[in-house]
Structures are given as structure tokens and as C-alpha cells.
């Protein structure tokens, strides 16, 4: 190649590479929009609510006196609701994903199910609230209970779990399936001995991410009517009820009234006294830390799986 040609070539490359640099900067800036917003939000919450974060705050019931109020009933409520959500959404979501990925024949029924799953992922959460109000609260008569809320959020995260499970299943090489079938395994044996164990990490990640989203949901829980002052804990199984002296059954807590963290926060935010706004901010910190922790676990899991499972 002639020197002159080479010269123009180099100029032209240099010109093109300039876009690389510009785009690199642009990309970093765009990424920072999200990250900085998050940091700003978090810092703001911490400034407002840090002073209220204490052991007392975590172990007290809500109160009309902001300085005595705490989130005990709210975080216990959140934990129990999440328990129900997990118990309902995980088996259902995983089973649905296994069916769609491993069993479903290619026909219109499968198509309908597929379209429905993608669709559900897009249904606004408030609509789930309306559904739950009609279905769980009234039709099935679960009332405004932990059970109703847990099932509502379960519906909300069902698509998340289905999608994550399907992806994890798809990541398992076809060779593993064939190897098991070739040894005479039945379909269910292949699923239960291989596919589920090997995809458990991916499934777990999906579950955690779904739950992290459910923790912060406000609107659907409001629609089922959980915006409530609760200054007691649900009856914990096998403890004695202070009022009746009777032993509590194992499932009574499911039907207990409850409140959850975002609702408690929402409640406090609209109070006239500035001190309640501090409480609201402190609650926000707790929620964010909970989601942070859950996401952290998910990341750690993802990392560990990538290290241990190889094909």
C-alpha cells in the first residue's frame, strides 16, 4: 500500500474512532443518570431519616407520637406477606416455566399461554390490586389479610419467575438432556434430576429479583385496603393469644390484618407533622436496604453459579 493511501486511510480511521470516544462518554453519562438519581434519592432519604433509625424504631409499633413510632408491625407484615408470595409464586411459576420450556407442544394453546405470560408482565400493578380486591378479598373471602396481599403480589411476580426460570432452563445445553434421555430417563426424571437442580441458581436469582420488586409495591396493596393502623403482631403459630389464652393455630396468621413497609411509609408521608416525614424517610431507608440486600444476594448467587456450574 502506498504511503499516500496509507495516510488517507489513517486519517479516515482517526475520524471514525472519534465516535468511539464520544459514544463512550455519552454512554457513561447516560448510565450515570440512573446511578446518580439513585444516589441522590438515597442520600436524601438518609439525610431525612437517619436520625430515626434505631433499634427502638424497628421494635416499636406505630404511634401518634412520631418519636415513639416504629415499624415493627410493618416489617413483620412485609416478611410474612413475602413468605406467602414466595410460597405461592415459586411453585406455580417454576411449574409453568417447566411446562412451557420442556413439555408444551407447538400449538395454539401454547401460543395463547405464551402471549398471556408476556401480557401479564405488562399489566399495571394497580390492576392486580383491583383483581385481588374482587377475587381474594370478596369472592374467596380471605378479607384484607396477609393471605390476600401475599397472593396479590404473587400474581405480580409470577411472570418474573416464569421468565427467569425459562431462561435458566434454556441455558442448560441440549446435550445434558440428551445424555439423560439416552440412559432411559423419563421426562419427569430429566426435569427433576437435572434441569431443576442445574437451573436452581438462575431460578433463585429470578425469585429474589421478583421479591425485591414486590417489597416496594404500594398501589395494589392499597387497593385491597391495607392502609391501616396496626399496633399488634399477627398471631404467631403455637404462641398463646393474650386475649383468649388459647394456643394459636399454625395458619391463623394468614388471615390476620396487617400492614407493610411501603404502606406505613405512605401513611406517614401524608401526616402534617414534620417528624412523621422523618419516620417515612427512615422507613424508605429500610425498604431500600432490604432490596439492596436481596439484589446483593442475587448478584452473589449469579456470580457463584457462573463459577461452579459449567457444562
Amino acid at each position: 500500500m502506498q504511503a499516500a493511501e496509507l495516510q488517507t486511510l489513517r486519517q479516515q480511521i482517526a475520524w471514525r474512532k472519534r465516535y468511539d470516544i464520544w459514544f463512550g462518554i455519552l454512554g457513561l453519562l447516560a448510565t450515570m443518570v440512573g446511578v446518580l438519581t439513585l444516589v441522590a434519592l438515597f442520600v436524601d432519604l438518609i439525610m431525612d431519616g437517619y436520625g430515626r433509625l434505631s433499634w427502638q424504631f424497628l421494635t416499636s409499633f406505630p404511634s401518634r407520637r412520631a418519636s415513639e413510632a416504629g415499624i415493627l408491625s410493618a416489617w413483620v407484615g412485609t416478611a410474612l406477606v413475602m413468605l406467602v408470595t414466595a410460597a405461592a409464586a415459586i411453585p406455580l411459576g417454576v411449574a409453568a416455566a417447566v411446562y412451557l420450556e420442556e413439555y408444551a407442544p407447538r400449538n395454539w394453546i401454547t401460543d395463547i399461554i405464551e402471549i398471556n405470560v408476556t401480557n401479564l408482565a405488562g399489566v399495571p400493578s394497580i390492576i392486580y390490586g383491583l383483581l385481588a380486591l374482587g377475587l381474594f378479598v370478596y369472592l374467596l373471602d380471605f378479607g384484607q389479610s396477609i393471605l390476600s396481599a401475599g397472593l396479590t403480589l404473587a400474581l405480580l411476580i409470577l411472570p418474573v419467575i416464569i421468565v427467569a426460570t425459562r431462561e435458566a432452563l434454556r441455558a442448560i445445553p441440549i446435550g445434558i438432556r440428551e445424555a439423560a434421555y439416552a440412559l432411559g430417563a423419563s421426562k419427569w426424571q430429566v426435569v427433576s434430576h437435572h434441569l431443576l437442580p442445574y437451573s436452581s441458581g438462575g431460578i433463585l436469582t429470578g425469585i429474589i429479583i421478583g421479591m425485591a420488586r414486590a417489597i416496594g409495591e404500594t398501589a395494589p396493596v392499597i387497593t385491597i385496603g391495607a392502609l391501616t393502623f396496626i399496633a399488634f403482631l399477627p398471631p404467631l403459630p403455637f404462641t398463646t393469644d393474650p386475649a383468649t389464652g388459647a394456643t394459636v393455630g399454625p395458619f391463623e396468621w394468614l388471615f390476620a390484618p396487617f400492614t407493610v413497609l411501603p404502606i406505613q411509609m405512605f401513611n406517614w408521608v401524608s401526616r402534617p407533622q414534620a417528624a412523621f416525614l422523618e419516620n417515612a424517610a427512615a422507613t424508605g431507608i429500610v425498604i431500600i436496604i432490604a432490596t439492596l440486600a436481596m439484589n446483593g444476594i442475587a448478584i452473589w448467587l449469579r456470580y457463584r453459579i457462573r463459577k461452579t456450574i459449567k457444562w
Binding site: F61, P62, S63, R64, G143, Q144, G225, A226, L227, T228, F229, I230, A231, F232, P242, A243, T244, P257, N267, V269, S270, R271, P272, Q273, A274, L277
Partner: protein, 307 residues
């Protein structure tokens, strides 16, 4: 041994305070839940028999009475405190410290929509400055009462103002704009005296201008913007000892607790009358299924009930 209360967000802070103290007083033997689903939402549940007590920032309406009657639910109406709607302006607003009901009507009536946009349209002496209106969201009891008291008909309002369910937001809005005006519950004003200024209200040109305060409301001079707020107790629930105990506790402590959370207590006499009505099981409403402005609580409690 669970007392279920639901309903108005306005009444919530008082009932919450009562519930808190009550549960402490009974050492947790009786549990109380206090929900917020709005006065209407509260009556909906109440008339289905799902709740024992309904918080209400307005009297029960005919429609709701019908629903309760169909379900065989009878109720006792008990006023528990006053809420004073407070009209607020920016602290630097120098001209609107006193306003008549007629002034406010000019601002908020439906006919003003799109037309009344300047302070000098209210009174020619007011400056030529844009009029920025804020107020309660259209499905709140506050909105209903304000329109009833100012415009003369509940729910009759212009639509183009900054509406919100959250009174803190109204505070934010007014405190940022010299030309803004809004209205909200007294408690929010009391907590934000440093940010906004209350307007003294004149019933008409001749009456004195009255600023909202615990005294003026309690004495009945802050008119027409003070309103009683209620709890409704189901008679069936009232038979249960824990509900009975709770309601009596409520009426005995409402004076102290309502003041503590920023509302105005009723005259002491009124609580006695209410307790009496409750014990006698005097069912029905004193209002006949629609809103009324400016009746004294004692008078209400003595009225013949409709049910």
C-alpha cells in the same frame, strides 16, 4: 376481641390515637385496626358488615343508608371532633389576609372555570396578579364540605385548580408562590405556620373576620368552615363488650386526643350527650342523608334521628 375501624383519612389520626392508648390500657387483650379507605370506602365496608366502626368526615348519605338498611345494619352516629378547613396563602401575600365567603365562591365556583384567573377579578383592589388555586382532590370529604360551605352545593366546583389528596402537597404549593391560595385541614396549617399564613374568614361583609384556631372553632365563631367529624358504630357490633369498651373509651378521651393530633375538641357537653346516645342505642343519623353547614353539635345530638 378485634375491633375493626375503617374509613375517612381525616378522622384517622384521632381514631389512631385512641386505638393506641386503648390497646395500651387493655394490655393488648383487645386489638384494634384502623384503616384508611375514605369515608365512602369505609361506609361500603361498614354496610357490608365487614367493619365495626366507620370513620366519617361527613354524615352518611342516603345511598349509603339504603345499602346499610338492605344488609340489616343499624348504626349509631357519634360526632367526635371538629375539623376546621383553613384557607391558606403565602406569608408574603399582603392583600388577602381577610376574605369573605363570597370572595372564595368567586374563586372556586364552577362558573369561574377558565375565566377567573386574576386576583383583581375577585376584588378590584387586589393586585393584578395571576390567581393560583390549590385545593382538595375531588373525592375527599374536604372537597365536599368546602364546596357545600362556600359554593353552596356539595361537589360544585371549578375543575381547573391544583387538586391533591395530600395536604402536605398543598402546603408546598402555596408556600412556593405568592399568588397562590389553597385550603386544607387545620392540623396541616398548625404544623406549617412558618410556611403559610391562614386567611381570616368573614361569613359576609358585615360579620367579623375570624381566624381559625382551637378557640374560634370550639366557640362556633369560625364559620362556615368548621365541620364536625364522626364515627359510626354498628349496633350489632356495639353488643360486643370489646367494641362497647372501645367506643366508651373513645368518647371519654376524644377531647384530649383530638387536640393532641391537631383537631378541635367538641364542647364537653357534646361528648356526654354522645355517650348517652350510645348507651341508649340511639340509631340513625341527624342529617337525613345530606350535608348541612353550620349546625351546632349539641343541636345535632338532640335531633330526631332518621334511619
Amino acid at each position: 376481641n378485634l375491633v375493626k375501624v375503617d374509613g375517612s383519612s381525616t378522622v384517622f389520626p384521632i381514631t389512631e390515637a385512641v386505638a393506641e392508648d386503648f390497646q395500651k390500657a387493655t394490655q393488648g387483650k383487645i386489638k384494634v385496626t384502623v384503616g384508611i379507605s375514605g369515608t365512602g370506602g369505609g361506609f361500603k365496608k361498614f354496610c357490608r358488615g365487614e367493619t365495626d366502626i366507620s370513620n366519617a368526615s361527613r354524615p352518611i348519605l342516603e345511598q349509603e343508608m339504603k345499602a346499610c338498611a338492605e344488609a340489616g345494619i343499624k348504626f349509631i352516629e357519634l360526632p367526635v371532633a371538629y375539623d376546621a378547613l383553613t384557607v391558606i396563602i403565602h406569608p408574603k401575600n399582603t392583600w388577602a389576609g381577610e376574605l369573605t365567603v363570597a370572595d372564595l365562591k368567586k374563586m372556586y365556583e364552577p362558573a369561574a372555570q377558565g375565566k377567573v384567573n386574576n386576583w383583581n377579578q375577585i376584588r378590584s383592589t387586589f393586585p393584578n396578579a395571576p390567581l393560583k388555586l390549590a385545593g382538595a382532590g375531588a373525592d375527599s370529604g374536604t372537597f365536599d364540605y368546602f364546596t357545600e360551605a362556600i359554593v353552596g352545593k356539595a361537589k360544585s366546583s371549578r375543575g381547573d385548580y391544583q387538586a391533591t389528596e395530600d395536604d402536605n402537597v398543598t402546603i408546598q404549593y402555596v408556600s412556593r408562590d405568592v399568588n397562590a391560595i389553597g385550603y386544607l385541614g387545620l392540623a396541616y396549617y398548625l404544623e406549617n405556620k412558618d410556611k403559610v399564613k391562614a386567611v381570616a374568614i368573614k361569613k359576609d361583609d358585615k360579620s367579623p373576620a375570624v381566624l381559625p384556631s382551637l378557640e374560634t372553632v370550639n366557640k362556633g365563631t369560625y364559620q362556615p368552615l368548621s365541620r364536625p367529624i364522626f364515627i359510626y358504630v354498628s349496633t350489632k357490633a356495639a353488643e360486643r363488650p370489646e367494641v362497647k369498651q372501645f367506643v366508651e373509651y373513645y368518647l371519654r378521651n376524644a377531647a384530649k386526643l383530638s387536640k393532641e393530633v391537631g383537631y378541635v375538641d367538641l364542647p364537653a357537653k357534646a361528648y356526654e350527650l354522645a355517650l348517652d346516645n350510645f348507651r341508649k342505642g340511639k340509631v340513625g343519623t341527624a342529617f337525613g342523608g345530606h350535608a348541612e353547614v353550620g349546625v351546632s353539635v349539641e343541636e345535632l345530638l338532640k335531633r330526631e334521628m332518621k334511619h
